[in-house]
């Protein structure tokens, strides 16, 4: 068992780091806020943490500082952005993510430019990453449960009705937006401290697609979907080694398949299966009760006659 862990440690770390990123996509989408800002802040958080750590600041402190920065910046950005709808918000945040990449390439004196940032102190270990991710997931799941979580669901269902129940729509949206920035920065910072190197390509078009895939494949319903999505995106390319050069194509086909046949993601599909099983169970026990009633009725009629 330990051997398997050691062999795949890099993959396990990547999966764990992907989880906050997946949630950074999933959470706003659940509230109807189509924000892709997590990737931009993955880059900002990663590079920020890396640069601070290289300058001598304690890795965890660097990470914490970047998280605070991400929260503030995310909140400020949300003010003009949050009134955008659907795909337009997605486009705007996507454009922002890509601009961050261009800025990184052009500020070589701090970020190492196109060559990348190297030599970031290795500030994490797998147990530490696991711990941080667990705490994050716990916090998010608590958020999902309470009144705030129900508020998010309400926002997704209908803006107008949400307002009538007295929920401040704009504030909630801004909050979710800022949260997605923080989650993205967390993932980026962890990435930087774990793999000690970053490049502008790390957080670009590819990562946006990967993040969207994680959110969709796993299922938007809950953080469990994000975890499933992270596992899928991190591990499937390796599993597809057999396809050789056609790996990307098989991956694409799988994506299309899941999207069409399991539109609620893997987690959603599992939940539907459970529901079907439960209703089958209920049907069976009610059938049994009917049978018993029938036999009783038959016995009564027979004894009567």
């Amino acid at each position: 068992m330990t051997e398997w862990f050691n062999e795949h440690e890099l993959l396990i770390q990547t999966t764990l780091i992907y989880i906050p990123l997946a949630i950074s996509f999933q959470l706003p989408i659940r509230c109807g806020v189509f924000s892709l800002i997590g990737v931009g802040f993955f880059a900002i958080g990663g590079y920020g943490t890396g640069i601070l750590a290289i300058e001598g600041l304690h890795p965890m402190l660097s990470l914490a500082l970047m998280l605070v920065f991400a929260g503030g910046a995310g909140f400020l950005m949300s003010i003009p952005l949050v009134r955008l709808r659907g795909l337009y918000l997605a486009m705007a945040t996507f454009a922002f993510d890509l601009i961050v990449g261009v800025v990184i390439i052009n500020t070589r004196q701090w970020t190492g430019g196109a060559q990348g940032l190297f030599g970031i102190p290795h500030g994490t270990s797998t147990p530490l990453i696991l711990g941080i991710v667990l705490v994050t997931v716990l916090a998010i799941s608590q958020l999902e449960r309470g009144a705030i979580g129900r508020g998010f669901e309400a926002i997704r269902e209908s803006d107008h009705l949400t307002v009538t129940v007295g929920i401040d729509l704009a504030r909630r949206r801004q909050f979710v937006f800022a949260l997605s920035a923080v989650l993205g920065a967390l993932a980026g910072g962890l990435f930087a401290l774990t793999f000690s190197a970053l490049s502008p390509g790390t957080a670009g078009f590819g990562l946006v697609i990967r993040g969207l895939t994680m959110a969709v494949i796993g299922g938007i319903g809950s953080w469990a979907g994000a975890a499933i999505g992270a596992i899928f995106v991190a591990w499937t390319p390796g599993l597809l080694e057999f396809a050789g050069l056609y790996r990307e194509m098989v991956y694409g086909v799988v994506l299309v398949g899941v999207v069409i046949y399991a539109p609620d993601g893997i987690f959603g599909a599992w939940r539907s299966l459970r529901r079907i099983a439960a209703s089958l169970q209920r049907q069976r026990s009610s059938d049994r009760a009917d049978d018993v009633a029938e036999t009783d009725a038959a016995a009564l009629t027979n004894s009567g006659a």
């Binding site: 955008l84 705007a92 890509l98 261009v102 050069l245 194509m249 694409g252 069409i260 539109p263």
Partner: protein, 294 residues
Amino acid sequence: MEQQLLNGMVLASVYTLFALGLTLCWGSLDVLNLAHGAVLMFAAYGAHVVARNVDAPFALLVLVSAAMGGALTLILDLVAFRPIRKRATSKRQEELLTLIAGVGAGSIPLTIAKVQTSDQPFGLTDFRVRVHDIGPLRVSDLQIAVIVVGISLTIGLALWVSRSRTGRVLRALAVDPETCSLMGVNANAVSAGTLFGSGALAGLGGVLLMAYLSGITANTGEHLLLKGFAVIILGGVGSVWGTLVAAVVLAAGETAVVTWTSGTWTNAVSFGLILLIILVRPSGLFGARKAERV
């Protein structure tokens, strides 16, 4: 300087052809086709394969490319987008799933082309153009052709959308599909036609680009996709004239940046435009102003 202008205009033309398909699909059918770039590339690749095996005139290659582009997009819609539209429970889910499906489906032609070309540029080997020296400019027949095609198709499409019955139907579909079906519109036929047309335009742009650049790679489509977004958002989603104007603006901006700076900021032009326009005027230059309650 003038040469740069000419290059910019050719670039603008290619952007226009590519973006026209994208904007019509998004504007009328609410389908944001992320595989559009792969379609352009693969249609051009098809023309390249034909050129390799058959001594075909350029016009035939253009036809092949356009037909392939149209067919590919139709297949894509049948296999991926339509099932999603049928099964999606909400508009948002439909949009999200369409995006992912587009990416996934686009990887199929992308990978095939990549493997077949070993990720090397592919083009038209026996392509020769006549070059004319007009004043300070060196103009090739191809450049003239691309610019003429781009402008004429834009004009043609704009007129068609605004004057013809089918064009009106397309605009009506964008506003309210349900009322359209009540009015006896065959939405499926119109959407199939639009999708084929958008793919054909992409194929056309692809083969012209391939000839102009003397070769494109499997990844060219992806780069174009982002530029395409910038064009349609700046121009206004669904507007044909907007696409042309925006393509010119984008091409001019990028050419200027390349000429006067180190060129690493070139992509920032398109991304910056997207962000700026969405924030300031989401309907773009010529897009329909939609009243959205905040």
